[in-house]
Amino acid sequence: MSSSGTHIRTPLARVRGHGSAKSGTTHFWHQRVTAIAGVPLTIAAIIILIMLLGRNQAAAAQILGSPPIAIIMLLFLASTCIHMRIGMAVIIEDYVHDETAKLALLMANTFFTVVVGLSAAYGILKLSFGL
């Protein structure tokens, strides 16, 4: 970096010409891929969840564990949790300006989405494999 007179140059001028990090559109693109995947998966997931209402545990387990429904639910979970992680990261980056708090929340965001997604997927796989 330049020696002393950094105060004169604006932050924009300092980064200009260094090239991008080459990952600027990754989140944008992933958010749209998971959004489009989410349209049919969400509609299916809502109908399946409502179908479960009023059924006992054995019937619910049978429905959720059946191969087509289990696969739909696993896809729904994967797509949605990736979408959730990116979306919440954007919210955190928009509103949390303290660097430490922001990093902590971004990390917590990753932990939450992985834990909740894998837990739900574990529940489905357990039913599907009849364990």
């Binding site: 105060h7 959004a35 969840l49 409502i50 209402l53 545990q57 959730m84 997604g117 739900a120 529940g123």
Partner: protein, 135 residues
């Protein structure tokens, strides 16, 4: 990460509070709020799927989801899903550069709002009809 220590005091662009609320703006905020809510709604889904593994756990879950508050949360969750999904489609249309005219964008947000309620009710009717089969 290159945090600049001495940030020049420059004027900031005006934010939400100085604008008169418009439908497009309110729906943009609602899109974010529904996304935020759905994030935590996934806990309910995870609980549901794990509870289905055994009768005791499922009895607890059924007690919750069968209560009026549980039903309200589930209905709210499904409405938020549909609303956020339609909002997403709206944004995908806007991504292509279409539907940004004054009348078109108003029409799109109105369709988003009305559509979310209509589709949620239709999905519940389909789901509840399918439910009537056994049980």
């Amino acid at each position: 990460m290159a945090e600049t220590k001495a940030r020049a005091v420059r004027p900031l662009s005006p934010h939400l509070q100085i604008y008169r609320p418009m439908l497009t703006m309110v729906m943009s905020i609602v899109h974010r709020i529904t996304g935020f809510g759905l994030y935590f709604g996934m806990i309910l889904v995870a609980w549901w799927f794990i509870a289905a593994g055994g009768p005791n756990g499922y009895a607890r879950f059924e007690w919750f989801i069968g209560s009026w508050i549980g039903r309200l949360i589930l209905f709210g969750y499904t409405w938020a899903l549909v609303h956020h999904m339609l909002g997403g489609i709206r944004h995908l249309i806007w991504d292509t550069g279409h539907g940004l005219g004054p009348n078109e964008r108003e029409w799109l947000v109105a369709a988003n709002l009305i559509g979310s309620i209509v589709i949620t009710v239709i999905l519940w009717i389909i789901g509840l009809l399918a439910m009537g089969g056994s049980s």
